[in-house]
């Protein structure tokens, strides 16, 4: 299943301290699966030769022949790879001085987004301008996607000036620290009590959280208060083949979705083996397709 140049390998790109990534790789190795970790230090010494789809119009966005990322130990990530699990927010290929950091990071991200896109199905989740690991879903987008999928979110309101706003929905107030909208996958800090200040605030109804579920294509691993088909529809609407969906119940007993993430934490029972088997199935399929 594996050979020269990393053919058929499952590659996990993750930060050195990503314990979930380490556990995934250990499990793959136990199952005799050719796999490797690519971390920031490896990527900093990698050589990219990216040939994005170009020339006359044509279908798809698959990269052209010759596209490859050469790793320092001679390994290659490219069309021969079985599956690439990208868990990083950045594409850390730039080796420039601090003065040019911002430009270099933007350039490297742009290169990484294009390169990952060119790998097509060989990447776990389609990369997105809002996340190389897959699109990040902010609160407003979550509400829109849930509406499309026919599931509820907890009512919320974001306001730019707590002191000037009319009384909004009842519920808890949380500190909203911009820039950016509050990320539903993060824990928010409760807003301190006291008179309203002229500052941004988020209010939501309290939700009793349930264990997150894992969506892998059409399959749901774990039990949620929300019907499985709706969660599958939600992940698909978000553009994710693999998603961790957080759900919960409001005080009045309504099941709601609270977050969708492209980078699963795999903490709930049964999710880890299901995820590893899924990676193997995906890699097998790309290997079969390459052989056909």
């Amino acid at each position: 299943m594996s050979g020269r140049d990393g053919q058929g390998e499952i590659v996990v790109a993750a930060a050195r301290g990503d314990a979930t990534a380490a556990t995934i790789l250990a499990a793959l190795r136990r199952r005799g699966r050719a796999s490797r970790l690519v971390d920031e230090a490896t990527l900093a010494r990698a050589v990219l030769e990216h040939r994005p789809a170009s020339g006359a119009p044509g279908r798809g966005t698959q990269a052209l022949p010759g596209d490859r990322l050469q790793l320092p130990d001679g390994g290659v990530v490219g069309p021969g790879t079985g599956l690439l699990v990208w868990r990083l927010d950045t594409f850390p290929l730039a080796a420039v001085s601090a003065g040019h950091r911002e430009y270099a990071d933007a350039e490297a991200f742009a290169a990484g987004l294009s390169w990952l896109t060119g790998l097509g199905d060989k990447v776990l989740n389609p990369p997105d301008p809002f996340g190389l690991a897959g699109p990040r879903v902010d609160l407003l987008r979550l509400a829109q996607l849930c509406e499309q999928a026919g599931v509820a979110t907890a009512p919320f309101e974001l306001c730019t000036n707590q002191a000037a706003a009319r009384p909004g929905p009842t519920g808890r107030a949380w500190v909203w620290q911009p820039p950016g909208l509050p990320d539903p996958t993060q824990r928010w800090t409760p807003h301190p009590a006291g008179p309203p200040l002229p500052r941004p605030v988020l209010r939501t109804a309290a939700v009793q959280p349930a264990e997150p579920v894992l969506v892998l294509d059409a399959r749901v691993v774990g039990t949620a208060a929300v019907p499985g088909e709706a969660l599958v529809a939600l992940a698909a609407a978000a553009g994710l083949r693999c998603a961790e969906v957080s759900t919960g119940t409001t005080a009045d007993g309504r099941p709601v979705v609270t977050a969708v993430s492209p980078v699963p934490g795999l903490r709930a029972a049964g999710q880890f083996p299901a995820f590893v088997s899924y990676l193997e199935r995906r890699a097998d399929r790309t290997i079969e397709e390459a052989a056909a």
Binding site: V47, L48, E49, H50, R51, P52, A53, S54, G55, P57, G58, R59, G60, T61, Q70, L93, A94, A95, V96, Y103, A104, A106, E107, F109, A110, A111, L113, S114, T117, G118, P129, F130, D138, L139, L140, R141, Q144, E147, T153, P155, F156, E157, L158, C159, T160, N161, A164, A165, R166, P169, W176, Q177, P178, P179, L181, L197, P198, R199, P200, R203
Partner: protein, 303 residues
Amino acid sequence: MIVIIGTPAEDPVRRLVDAARAEGVEALVLDETAAADWNLRVGSGPEGRYARLAGADGEVDLAGATGLYLRLTAPGRTGPVPDPLEQDRHDAAIALAAGWADVAAMRVANRPRAMASNGSKPYQAALIRSFGLAVPPTLVTNDPAAVQGFWDQHGRLVYKSASGVRSIVHELTPARGADLARVRHLPTQFQRLLEGTNVRVHVVGAAVFACEIGAATIDYRYREGGEAATMRAVELPPAVAERCVAVAAALDLPFAGIDLLRDDDGNWWCFEVNPSPAYSCFEEPTGLPIAAALARWLAGEGE
């Protein structure tokens, strides 16, 4: 009513405001430079999503608008550093306006989520090609040997930024090529140098406005000591116009500035689709009625 978010003194915003007035379209303008004072609340509840702006005369329901024009340019601030809460309100207002623009059930020019495709030029180019316009052969690499091979293959190359950060497009000349080892520090985008006539196309919904550019430099936006570029309105071949509309629609950029080149063999190539076009630079010298078309489109007219 249409909502316009941007800096009123900036040309594209000013022209749209004037055009809306001339077309009899009511416009609510949110001044980006005063975003800290917006008093915006956006939420989702049993009655659906909502967006409301509080003003002196009560609240305006922004969801009642037919269209939204968003041109956030992050103008530099002058004067004393604002207090931290004011800065937070400003940042929150911008984030909320952009987040709402992504999900608002109305015509939006353009949704930030769609605009982001332009943050990676090679990524956007691959999409453009899949939607029907040719794009130049491209290599993104930090390998000097790969650049040399690509150079030998294509004869003449340009290099330019891959991200949304603006760069001047230059030819890779032998003098600049002597320093190729520098790409080792950062993946860089190289492209076959195309020769021909630059044509800038503005798409507004299903309407197309094209202008031809006469320029002495490769990147006509910079004269680099030479003559300034000249512009004249032109008609596109219908098949090219159709593809421009289709590409803009597929990228979810109903208002787009498409950079095309017609080469000496009559082939059409696309460099990029600008998601927040500074259309005023093209409207002013040619008289193409882009702002008026945009105002009418935002008001709900046409496709």
